[in-house]
Each structure stands twice: as C-alpha cells, then as structure tokens.
C-alpha cells in the first residue's frame, strides 16, 4: 500500500507539523482548563497540598515514628508521593478520553492520532512545572544546599512523564475498543495509588506482599524523588536508572500497542 502525499514529505517538515499540532492542542488544553479560574495553574499545587494536610491530620501522628519522629518529615514524604500519584492519575485519565473525544475531528481530516494523548500529557507537564515541580526544587535546595539536587529533581520527573506517555497511549487506544474502560481504569489507578507508599511508610507492608509492590512503576519514581528532595544526599543514580528503565519499557509497550491498534481506530470512531 502506498502512502498518500497530502502531508509534507520530508521528515523535518513532518516533525515541524507535529510540533505545531502539539503546540496548538496544548494551548487549547491549558486555556480551556483555566478559563475563568482565579487560581489558574496553581490549582495543581493546591490540591496535593490540601490532601497532604488531610493525611497528616489523620495518619501523621500514627506514622511519625517511621519518619524519625518528625511530623514535618511525614508531611514532606506524603507531599512528594502525592504529587507523583496526582500527576499520573490526572494525566492518564485525561489521555484515556483523548482519541475518542476527538473522533469527530479524526473523521474530517487526516491527523496523526498520537497527537491527542501526547498533547494531553504535555499540557499536564507544563502545569506540573509551574506548580509542584518548582516547589520540589525549592525543597531540594533547602534540604541539600546543593544545586545538583535541585537540577536532579527533573530526572525522576522525566521518568514519570515517560510512564504517563506509555500508559496514555495504552488507555487511549483501548478506550476506542472498550467504552466501559473508565470504570476499570478508575479501579486500576486506585490500586496503584494505594500500593504506592504515598501516605504510609513502606515498612508497614507485610513481607509476603512487598514483592507485588515492586510491579508498581510509580514506587520507584517516588523513592527516587524522595531520595533527591528529602534526604539531602547526593542523588542516587541507581534509583534514577531504575525509574528510567520502567519509564522506557512502559513507553515502548504503549507506543507499540498504539501503532498496532491504530489501523482499526477509524472503523470505531
């Protein structure tokens, strides 16, 4: 089967077009999301802060002993975990809808389908950079007094973005075939959320359950982020590498499946 010549032929031009498409879609995403909202982009910061407050009020006293008897340490650990989980569940559940939600558009003009999940994740990245990431960098600077840690905060975050991209490809593609997916996906995000040591110390998990938690790719991100932001030590590159590895694997799987399913999308949109 021969390709059509509707779109620019050279790959540089194709790349330029892809970049421009992402740009306008991200722009649409962000400006729609914050139209009329006074809090604007800082909502993404406010919601984990409020949740941290709630967790600290309820679990703080009980779990403080695992955090050197310091409530502040518990607050910081809960916050770093929450921003990761929040980013993951918000960006992937928005990505889930993205291909089907733009079905009418895809029926009218030829567009690379991957722009929809990619632009959703990208919009969330911008949002994250303006709020939580900046705060994490400040925290890392205070605890470590080293610019290396401040910059290194980006490393686990990049791994998180790779994971979200991969999962975003997977769920947005699956949703084309299975329209009841959101119910199941809600369950999955809840399981991931409860199995990541966000508001509890990982020590309390029974030993025979612990191996299962290793399957949760977010655990490695949270561990690496906490090590960089909270410990004050030099960034542990082993943890970063583990986080990156799961990110690269998930992105490859997601991208591969999306490419594989893509030819069937148009019959179902």
């Amino acid at each position: 089967m021969k390709k059509k010549l509707v779109l620019p032929k050279t790959s540089w031009k194709a790349f330029q077009r892809y970049r421009e498409l992402i740009q306008v879609l991200v722009n649409r995403n962000l400006s729609v999301r914050y139209r009329g909202s006074v809090l604007g982009i800082y909502w993404s910061l406010l919601s984990p802060l409020i949740m941290t407050g709630v967790y600290t009020a309820i679990f703080g006293a009980a779990f403080a002993s695992y955090y050197d008897d310091s409530l502040v340490n518990y607050v910081l650990a809960a916050f770093t975990g929450l921003v990761v989980i929040n980013f993951f569940s918000a960006s992937t559940s928005q990505a889930l809808m993205s291909v089907v939600g733009n079905g009418a558009l895809l029926n009218k003009m030829q567009l690379p389908m991957s722009i929809f999940p990619v632009s959703i994740i990208t919009a969330n990245v911008f949002q994250f950079c303006a709020g939580p990431l900046a705060l994490l960098m400040v925290m890392a600077g205070i605890t470590s007094r080293s610019p290396v840690n401040v910059v290194a905060v980006i490393l686990p975050f990049v791994a998180l973005v790779l994971i979200c991209m991969g999962v975003g490809f997977l769920v947005s593609g699956l949703f084309v075939f299975f329209r009841d997916l959101p119910y199941f996906y809600e369950l999955i995000t809840f399981a991931l959320w409860i199995s990541s040591p966000v508001f509890y110390p990982s020590e309390i998990v029974p030993d025979n359950v612990k191996p299962f938690l290793a399957f949760n790719p977010l655990t490695r991100i949270i561990e690496s982020l906490r090590q960089i932001v909270l410990s004050g030590d030099f960034p542990d590159l082993g943890l970063v590498a583990a986080a990156w590895l799961s990110g690269i694997i998930l992105l490859s799987v997601g991208w591969f499946c999306f490419r594989w399913w893509k030819p069937q999308f148009m019959d179902l949109l």
Binding site: M1, K2, K4, L5, V6, L7, Q16, R17, E20, L21, Q23, V24, L25, N27, R28, S31, V32, R35, A104, L105, L106, N107, K108, M109, Q110, L111, F177, F178, R179, D180, L181, F184, P263, Q264, M266, D267, L268
Partner: protein
C-alpha cells in the same frame, strides 16, 4: 495533470452492528469461548478513478452508497484496504463545518487551531485571522468565546477558514446550506472564484440541479461501486432515470 488517482481501491470496514465497545462482554465471551472476530463489510469495491487538476467532479448516489467514504479516502482519513489512493496537492475538507472548534476557546484561537489542524503553519494562520474574520463578518467577535456564536455564525466561520486558505483540492460535502440567504450568495461567489481558478473541486450533493449546473464531470456511486461516470448532465440523467423508472438499484444493471 492528475490531481487524484484511485487504483483498484477496496475498503473493508467493521460493520456497525458488530461494535461491542464493551470490555466486560468481550472478556466474558472469551471465557465462554464464544468470542468471534468482528465481521467486516466491503464498502468500496474495486474503485478506479482519475481526476485531473481543475476538474469539478460531482458525486451522486443514494444514502449509504459510499459517497462520504470515498471523500474520506481522498482526504486520507481512511486508508484503503487494498489498492492505492494518490493525491497531489493540499486538500481542504469542508465536511460538516465546525467539527474542529472548541467552544471554550476564543474565535481567534479557534481560527488558528483549525488552520493548523488543516495543515497550515501557525504564523501563516495568524496573518490570515483578520481576513477570515472579515469574510465571516465576525469582526467584533474575535476575542469572544466560540460558544457565544450562533450555529449559523459557526458555520460561516468554518466556511471562511476552509476557503480562505487556498487549497489545491476542495471537498464539499453538502455544505451549501450555510447561513442566511445573503451569506449563501457570498459563499457561492467565493466558490465561483474557485471554479474559475485551477482548483480541483469534489462535490457531494443531493442537489442534482446544482451538480448538473456547476460540475463538468459526475460519477454515480451505488453500493461502493461506480455505476455511471460521464458528463454531469448525463450522469444526473441516468441517475434520475433509474430512480424514476423504479429500476433495480442493484449492481446487475449495466450502467455504461
């Protein structure tokens, strides 16, 4: 010079009734061993078509005969199952206007979004915004959100964008019912300009008079096949004869 060329194009699509759309049921049917591959139906059958640059081609046929599917193949929205579709030049689809608009965005942002989706660069679209607003007569609405426009205004805007950018190939799918009478005339004038210029135009319409008067060539599609192809007048006549004669609309009657 050729603008569009379809060689032995066949298209199979999943039939609507087979849509399961349901994870629970699919998993259950797998477990019960009742799962079967979704069945497919041939919607375009061995279609050959060549359109030369500057041609104005009308496409007629009853509902479900594959007219819109053919346009989707030419736009690149659908890939043929077998055969090749080749298109030289930039295609602007003008199908059910306004699908690309986001109701929360401002009109100007929507113009840029729509233009970029159609394949134009952002700086180029920014330079065209004023002309598009002027043509759509929405000069005062530039910064207003899209949702504050009426459906007629939205359709006007869609028409203005798709025809402002100068496509090599314009695709019209039942769109001449845009806006009020006065604006309709404006649209017709602009389309006239396309007609005069060297643009290739494909029109799907049930308005047979319009096809006969405005197109050079026409094809009559019937169940995914070309049943008749020739001058617009002859095709319309053949189609009308078949409809009024109550002739079998099936594929057995030789058209040509």
């Amino acid at each position: 010079m050729e603008a569009i060329r379809l060689d032995q194009v066949c298209l199979w699509r999943r039939t609507q009734e087979e849509f399961s759309y349901d994870l629970k049921r699919t998993v259950l049917s797998f477990l019960e061993g009742k799962y079967k591959q979704p069945s497919k139906k041939q919607v375009i059958e061995n279609l050959n078509l060549t359109i030369t640059t500057g041609d104005k081609l009308g496409i007629i046929g009853s509902n479900g005969s594959g007219k819109s599917t053919l346009l989707k193949l030419i736009c690149g929205v659908l890939e043929p199952t077998t055969g090749t579709v080749r298109v030289w030049g930039r295609v602007a689809p003008l199908i059910e206007l306004g699908a690309g608009f986001d109701s929360e965005l401002s009109v100007i942002d929507n113009i840029i979004l729509y233009g970029v989706l159609l394949g134009y660069s952002k700086p180029y679209m920014q330079s065209r915004v004023q002309d598009i607003l002027d043509f759509a007569e929405l000069g005062d609405y530039g910064l207003a959100p899209q949702k504050s426009l009426s459906s007629g205004m939205t359709a006007r805007l869609g028409f203005a964008i798709a025809t402002d950018v100068h496509p090599d190939i314009l695709i019209l799918d039942e769109v001449l019912s845009v806006g009020d009478e006065r604006f309709k005339n404006k649209c017709k004038q602009r389309l006239e300009a396309f007609w005069q210029a060297n643009a290739t135009v494909l029109v799907v319409s049930h308005d047979l008079e319009f096809i006969r008067d405005s197109c050079h060539q026409a094809i009559w599609l019937d169940r995914g096949r070309i049943r008749y192809s020739g001058s617009a007048a002859a095709t319309v006549q053949a189609y009308l004869a078949a409809v009024h004669g109550g002739a079998d609309m099936g594929l057995s009657t030789p058209g040509q």
